[in-house]
């Protein structure tokens, strides 16, 4: 079921203008720090300046006496305010985890990463709170540090926490088929070691939280810049021992999420505790330096892999090991290394696979998903191996991929792998070779040799590279959506799904309005709504899939009810009616009735029958359960120019051919992909958290940690293919992380191609000019040495 989007007149498939934009371009957005509450107090945290330190009891005398300071809290002060415990036990379950590392709200006795909060100061202004933080007296006595995940796993390595026997948080793996037989029978074997470095999410708005208790009801009300209000509410209920109704959490406009805002953080609990304790509103807004050390990060992995192929270049087996940097606490679980290991062989036919994963605790900021969540690393490793396989087999890099990609006739394709739930992995749909071929056609893959030669004649080194990827989207089990027509006649959508800037409200408005008169302007939203008891929020490119499915289903039910009530009141057949905007009317006649009247009638009147319906109201709540994941796929082709004298890489062009199923809003899909590509380019060339040997972060400003700017971002050519997913009624798949996944792999491939005459290998990301220049110089010296040897022989 491939083809162009949608039904004529359908809103789904149209680039409907975003309803979010109007207030945002006027400066009328409502981000967390824009929420003004009279009498609000402000928080600053004293954080650990040392990666691993023994700490005593802070001397707060001077700090507490500073002008404007209202209260100062240590871990001991918070404990009585948190009857349900003062640690965040939020790890996803896994039997592979050797020991729990639930992080404390405030550290006591020991700190385990730079940036860990130790003391909370509440004052009349943020500046006053920071002054007081400077006046807290506390010795941080350095302890031995686990800075590097590989050495942290060695026998006798210093533990990242003094109480731990070792740093091996988990050892697990993936194993199917007969790898030994595959490698024994192989015509070709290629090997490689690969390193992908640590980076951050860097939403332009950091985290932030505002909490107060309602004076009338005693309810704890929290606003947080979070992707998962429900998860935060759950933690607040647990730690404060409050029932659902005694806590509310709302997410205001989010200035970006990109993964780390899906985690529940100590600061959110600490600020709420201060608000409960002091009886007045308390706010904390993360500054950029804090974001660099205390918001979760991702990506550092070290891989050592081997691939076996037959003489035609068909993959026979894949084996090796990977070390994953977990950071200092378990803030989410094993989901990132699990995703890396699971995604690695997914897009190709890999008959035998054996991967051993070791997860290392280090004295660095905790690791949880950042846009891509383990998939960019897996793609980097697999695609680097495919390039080496092409070379070993004497095949074009594109050709060897085409020979191994899962074919459309194999769909749905069962893989010998399991999701973290234990369900078997089933690729739902897609034409992977077709996607690659469309990217090749768009870039003129086969014509590149001529372009390269022409450039070389001018002294410019061009290279082209390719990477296929697959993205697991639409993580289940469900998201709740309630659609209701209000007495005003407007349509209200309440959902646990949370917006973080992607245009979720616009997409859901399109889906809902498609069934209810096709006027998206009639739809209002409560997003990330914790009044609804069951919900999850935004992560794993899931919301258009799971919330979209529930919204679609709920809107259909409401449509049925609207037509029934209207038919009853207008005394005509339902078949004769159509919905247009907020009006139900006779298709061939002049009778009509508006939503406002219908909503009021559908509520019922005391002592009267309901109008044509058995239960009251124009409302439906749906939680469509989708356990399998919908797999988006794509192929990225990058052309680069390498300045061999400096090691600098510039991107010439980026092409992405992708398939995210049916597109709800093509302009927004393009937007998601462009943003992802820019982030991917950062991972390819620029973004790296730099640490010294003591795990002290050195890149804690935007001058040191390099984000891509408009000058580095090339024009990108995006090609859409639409293979509808059979897993949901809309046929959609997620797209939020697609752009980021393949870029580092495609760019590395292109750099190697540009330097192929020198034999330079690119097995790391990001590729800094210094590192690349070192490889070029080494290759040159190698070449010279070989030349001399040959000269001596001849």
């Amino acid at each position: 079921m491939s083809g162009a989007t949608g039904v004529p007149g359908s809103l789904v498939g149209a680039s409907v203008g975003r309803r979010e934009d109007g207030p945002l371009v006027r400066g009328k957005g409502r981000f967390l720090d824009d929420l003004g509450v009279p009498g609000c107090l402000h928080v600053a945290f004293l954080r650990s300046p040392v990666a691993h330190a023994a700490i005593g009891v802070p001397d707060l005398t001077e700090a507490a006496a500073m002008p404007g300071v209202v209260a100062v809290y240590t871990a001991a002060d918070l404990a009585p305010l948190l009857p349900g415990g003062d640690r965040l036990a939020v790890a996803l379950p896994s039997s592979a985890i050797a020991f729990a590392l639930d992080r404390p709200i405030l550290a006591s006795g020991e700190t385990v990463y730079v940036g860990e909060p130790v003391v909370m100061i509440v004052a009349e202004s943020r500046a006053a709170a920071e002054d007081a933080a400077d006046a807290v007296w506390l010795d941080f006595d350095p302890l031995p540090v686990a800075a590097d995940p590989v050495t942290a796993l060695e026998e006798g390595a210093a533990p990242a926490h003094s109480g731990l026997p070792h740093n091996r948080l988990a050892e697990f793996g993936f194993d199917y088929g007969d790898c030994d037989a595959a490698f024994a029978a192989a015509a070709h074997r290629v090997t490689g070691t690969f390193t992908v470095d640590r980076g951050g999410s860097h939403s332009m708005e950091g985290r932030g939280v505002l909490a107060r208790t309602d004076a009338l009801t005693g309810r704890l009300e929290v606003w947080s810049s979070t992707q998962t209000p429900h998860a935060l509410k759950k933690s607040l209920c647990t730690l404060f021992e409050r029932e659902d109704a005694a806590v509310s959490v709302q997410a205001p406009d989010l200035g970006g999420g990109f993964g780390p805002k899906l985690v529940t953080y100590p600061e959110e609990i600490a600020v709420a505790a201060a608000a409960v304790d002091l009886g007045c509103p308390v706010k904390w807004v993360e500054d950029r330096r804090e974001h660099f050390t205390s918001t979760t990060q991702e990506r550092e992995q070290h891989w050592s892999m081997e691939m076996a192929l037959d003489e035609d270049g068909a993959i026979l087996g894949l084996r090796g090991s990977m070390v994953h940097d977990h950071g200092a606490w378990t803030a989410r679980g094993l989901n990132v290394p699990y995703a890396s290991g699971m995604m690695l062989p997914l897009i190709y036919r890999v008959p035998a696979y054996d991967l051993k994963i070791a997860v290392a605790v280090t004295n660095k900021t905790p690791v949880t998903p950042v846009r891509g969540a383990g998939q960019p690393q897996a793609t980097f490793v697999m695609e680097r191996l495919m390039d080496r396989a092409a070379e070993a087999c004497g095949l074009d890099r594109a050709e060897i991929r085409l020979r191994n990609l899962v074919a459309p006739e194999e769909m749905p394709c069962a893989k010998e792998l399991k999701l973290r739930s234990g369900r078997p992995v089933m690729l739902d749909s897609g034409d992977y070779p077709g996607t690659q071929k469309s990217a090749m056609a768009a870039t003129g893959w086969h014509g590149f040799a001529a372009r390269r030669a022409a450039a070389l004649a001018e002294g410019r080194r061009l290279g082209i590279g390719m990477a296929n990827y697959i993205e697991g989207t639409g993580r289940g089990p469900y998201e709740t959506v309630t659609v209701r027509i209000l007495r005003s006649g407007r349509i209200h959508v309440a959902t646990g799904a949370a917006a973080m800037g992607q245009g979720l409200a616009t997409a859901l408005a399109q889906i809902v309005a498609d069934h209810l008169g096709r006027d998206p302007a009639l739809v209002d939203f409560s997003l990330g709504d914790t009044a609804e008891p069951y919900g999850f929020g935004g992560f794993n490119s899931r919301q258009t899939v799971v919330a979209g499915a529930s919204a679609d289903a709920a809107a259909k039910v409401v449509r049925t009810r609207v037509l029934r009530v209207a038919a009853h009141l207008l005394e005509v057949d339902e078949d004769e009616l159509e919905i247009d905007g907020g009006l139900v009317r006779q298709r061939n006649g002049n009778r009509s009735i508006d939503f406002a009247r219908l909503a009021r009638e559908a509520e019922g009147l005391p002592g009267y029958d309901l109008p044509g319906i058995e239960t009251p109201g124009l409302m439906a709540t749906e939680r469509v359960v989708i356990d399998d994941m919908a797999y988006s796929n794509g192929c990225c082709v990058a052309e680069v120019e390498v300045d061999a004298e400096t090691g600098l890489v510039r991107i010439g062009t980026l092409h992405l051919s992708h398939d995210c199923g049916r597109m709800v809003n093509p302009a927004m899909v393009d937007g998601q992909i462009l943003g992802g590509l820019a982030h991917g380019l950062g991972n390819a060339l620029y973004e790296k958290m730099v640490y010294d040997d003591e795990a002290q972060p050195l890149s804690v400003t935007f001058a040191d940690y390099l984000l891509v700017t408009s000058a580095e971002m090339p024009e990108a050519d995006i090609l859409h293919r639409e293979t509808y997913s059979p897993l949901n009624a809309l046929g959609v798949k997620g797209v939020g992380e697609s752009g980021v996944i393949p870029v580092a792999a495609a760019v590395a491939s292109a750099i190697e191609n540009a330097l192929s005459d020198l034999g330079v290998r690119v097995d790391f990301a990001p590729v800094s000019p210094q590192a690349l220049r070192a490889r070029i110089v080494a290759a040159g010296q190698r070449g010279q040495a070989n030349g001399q040897e040959q000269g001596a022989q001849s």
Partner: protein
């Protein structure tokens, strides 16, 4: 550090409206606008002058309002994102941002709008390449910039055409 430093009274105009506020000398112009003038459209993204989310016009020049103290703006004419639209009517640049899907979360948007406004005010005949170079001043994590570049160039053309017509 414990001695309190007196606040100073400053007066300036913001979007044409005179304002007088009393602030600590250490308060940045960004915080002064947000906290003392209630103009929260100017966003603070890094406080070290790199991200550009806080860009405003001071006496016609696009500057980082986190790298100026409010006290330094005494007597200045300031324009912020709230001053771009005239009532309901959006400025051409704001419309171009919407038309080109040049924003997603919208947090960096006010800074980009003021940066481009400042650049086009200073040089209405600016070349596309110069404008693109100026756009590298600010950071955006959502859009990948291409749509922002399109919106800026399109607005520059619109303004040139309307000047030509006038």
């Amino acid at each position: 550090m414990t001695e309190t430093i007196a606040k100073t009274e400053i007066s300036f105009t913001v979007n044409g409206r005179p304002r007088t506020v009393t602030v600590e000398p250490r308060k940045t112009l960004a915080d002064t606008l947000r906290e003392d003038c209630g103009l929260t459209g100017t966003h603070v993204g890094c406080e070290h002058g790199v991200c550009g989310a806080c860009t405003v016009l001071v006496d016609g020049k696009a500057v980082r309002s986190c790298l100026m103290f409010g006290a330094q703006a005494d007597g200045a004419e300031i324009r912020t994102v709230e001053g771009l639209a005239e009532g309901e009517a959006l400025a051409p640049l704001q419309e171009a941002f919407i038309r080109n899907h040049a924003l997603q979360c919208g947090f960096c948007t006010p800074g980009f709008l003021m940066l481009i406004t400042g650049a086009l005010d200073e040089n209405p005949d600016i070349r596309d390449e110069e404008l693109t170079e100026i756009l590298s001043s600010n950071l955006c994590r959502c859009t990948g910039y291409r749509n922002i570049i399109r919106a800026a160039i399109e607005t520059a053309e619109t303004l040139r055409r309307s000047r030509g017509a006038a």
